[in-house]
Amino acid sequence: MNKKIELLAPAGDLERAKVAIRFGANAVYLGGKRFSLRSRASNFEISDIKEACDYAREYGAHIHVTINIIPHDEDFDGLEGYLKELENAGVTAVIVASPTIIQTVKKVAPKLEVHLSTQMSTTNLKAIEYYQRLGVDRIVYARECNLEEVCMISKNSPVPTEAFIHGGMCVNYSGRCTLSNAMTLRDANRGGCAQSCRWKYHLIQGEKEISKEDCLFSMSSKDLMAVDVLYDLMDANVASLKIEGRMKSAYYIASVVHTYRKAIDEIAQTEKPLDAERLEYYANELSKAENRPTSIGFYRGLPTAKAHLYGINGAGVTHDFVGVVMAYDQDSQIAKVQVRNVFGCGYELEVFGPHIDNEAFVVDSIINSDKENIEVANQPMTIVEVKIPFIVEPQDLIRRK
């Protein structure tokens, strides 16, 4: 069993990278302003990436950078210099989807590991053999692999493997879709995916409409949630477990990373699969983040209708993120809290953080920055004082049911 399996989290900016690391990610992947998919979530300048690397190092964590566009000839300008900058910044690995970029990394920035992106749809050992010859250091599976395939490959693969465990799923083989290109002129393989698969369509056969007006055809996949198979993945020596979601909030990152961290650590300690009660507990914990509805993806076989969204695409959020602890005075038990969403006196809130699990308390008073008692904290990013009857730490997060 790989007890030291890597928990790999996404980050759309420096704040989220730090949150992911603080909440237990062993590595964070992020995108620079060029060469990366999810370009709207790629806000990292080299200076930010260096800061993320320095921060990660303090926690024994690593930074991976996505260079996972399917490049056109015009896209290579500046690549070599960028790779050298990443290497100098202390980046551990780049996630790549082009043989040319793989070769360029090996030539100009050899300290960087090359991780083959899921865009390359790797589903078998012979494909891994092919990419190993190119010098690839890790393979990210296609999300179309089932659990049996992932376990068999990981046990026999000559290079370490990485599997998705949580987050959004392309309904198509990643990288093999140009719906967005056709419908919006936004290149799905160069950071512009408009998620046209999630739109509504009439399905017609011959002259007859098969689709129903009140529930049109759609190709929207539920998000992946794979806590059920964590034990199997660890037992199969998968090297890294990946959470999708560079567009997601800091609260989402914290909630999801924290939950998987605890689940992985529990499995590593017991060396047993999670029982039904613990699985339910972790599933509940994950539902506190703003997920879209979830499914097990391909891990238990081809996804059925239950793994798709046809009507409402909304999230089933059970908790709202309301604040961040900025400071805490143990003598007075007063916490300074940065308000993120509304809460008021009498609300039952829950604190969670790297060293605290879901401790609940009832708000009995709120004092604003003018030292006035207020009933409701409803001004985002302002600092208020709240009594919390147990020890909390700066950057712990507060949520309400």
Partner: protein, 295 residues
């Protein structure tokens, strides 16, 4: 110039030969997908023989993305293809390349990874591995195609006619949808299904088969005018993909390209062709349209 045409029926082979095709592209029931039809092994043997008797080359789709279990069948199939003198094997999964090495078939491979062949350098990389040629992605512009043809040392192919594949899902998307709404799925392996986005009018062919679900453009690419330009920049092979199209239209398209190759005016030929088949949605696709927006 190789004129490559996909084949729906064995009885059409003569017609394509007469139209000037030089390579006929077939698809079996398991290893290939996104073809006008799928042939059983005994039908393939007949088709290969007939094609070769006419002096044409045989090509096959082997564009499945394989699991390890399926690769055993892949190896057997490749031995079968070698035995029957198949000239070109279109592949998508690099596992096929590894198998081809051990079977001495690398020189027969044609790399067609759909969306991934968008630049000269990646194309040169795969060509340098000894394969016969690679296929340009369809979502690139004419200028980009020209640049790739000029830059690359080796053989290149472009799909210049037909509906273009836009997406490939391993999921059985129509089956799942029918299950959701409680309808019978009558669409499997059927060529008469389309999607229409709810705010638009274009009809996008959708095909569900054993390998998953495939969606195509709401237009038929007809790059008659661009063909000569590409040939002049070094394009060695062009394909007419007849999926979802009637045989006569595909035959006429093949004749049209051959005539252009012989020096006839492409504009005249294109206009005549589009007039004859005026009910079809022809387009230049991405030839003059970049798709590099991100927001």
């Amino acid at each position: 110039m190789e004129f490559i045409v996909t084949v729906e029926k064995i009885e059409d082979i003569n017609l394509f030969c007469e139209a000037g095709a030089t390579v006929l592209l077939f698809c079996d029931e398991f290893h290939g997908t996104r073809a006008p039809s799928k042939f059983k092994q005994e039908e393939l043997i007949e088709a290969f023989g007939k094609t070769q008797e006419l002096g044409l080359k045989v090509a096959v789709y082997m564009n499945r993305i394989y699991t390890d279990k399926e690769l055993e069948q892949a190896e057997e199939y490749m031995k079968f293809l070698k035995e029957h003198g198949v000239a070109f094997i279109y592949y998508n999964d690099p596992a096929v390349y590894i198998l081809a090495e051990s079977l001495g078939l690398v020189g027969h491979l044609v790399y067609e990874p759909d969306t991934l062949m968008t630049n000269s350098r990646d194309m040169q990389f795969v060509l340098d591995q000894g394969i016969h040629h690679a296929v340009l992605s369809t979502e690139i512009t004419l200028d980009e195609m020209k640049e790739m043809c000029i830059n690359v040392h080796g053989n290149t192919e472009a799909i210049l006619f037909g509906y273009l594949n836009m997406s490939y899902s391993k999921r059985h998307l129509i089956q799942n949808y029918c299950d959701e709404i409680g309808a019978d799925n009558t669409c499997v392996n059927k060529m008469n299904c389309v999607l229409i986005e709810s705010t638009r009018e274009g009809k996008m062919p959708i095909l569900e088969d054993e390998q998953g679900t495939h969606i195509f453009t709401d237009y038929i690419l007809d790059a008659f005018d661009e063909f000569k330009v590409l040939k002049d920049t070094g394009l060695k092979s062009m394909r007419i993909d007849g999926i979802f199209l009637p045989r006569d239209l595909v035959v006429d398209a093949c004749k049209a390209f051959v005539m252009i190759d012989l020096g006839m005016d492409s504009e005249v030929i294109r206009k005549k062709f589009e007039e004859k088949y005026s009910e079809y949605p022809f387009s230049k696709g991405y030839m003059y349209q970049k798709t590099n927006l991100v927001k």
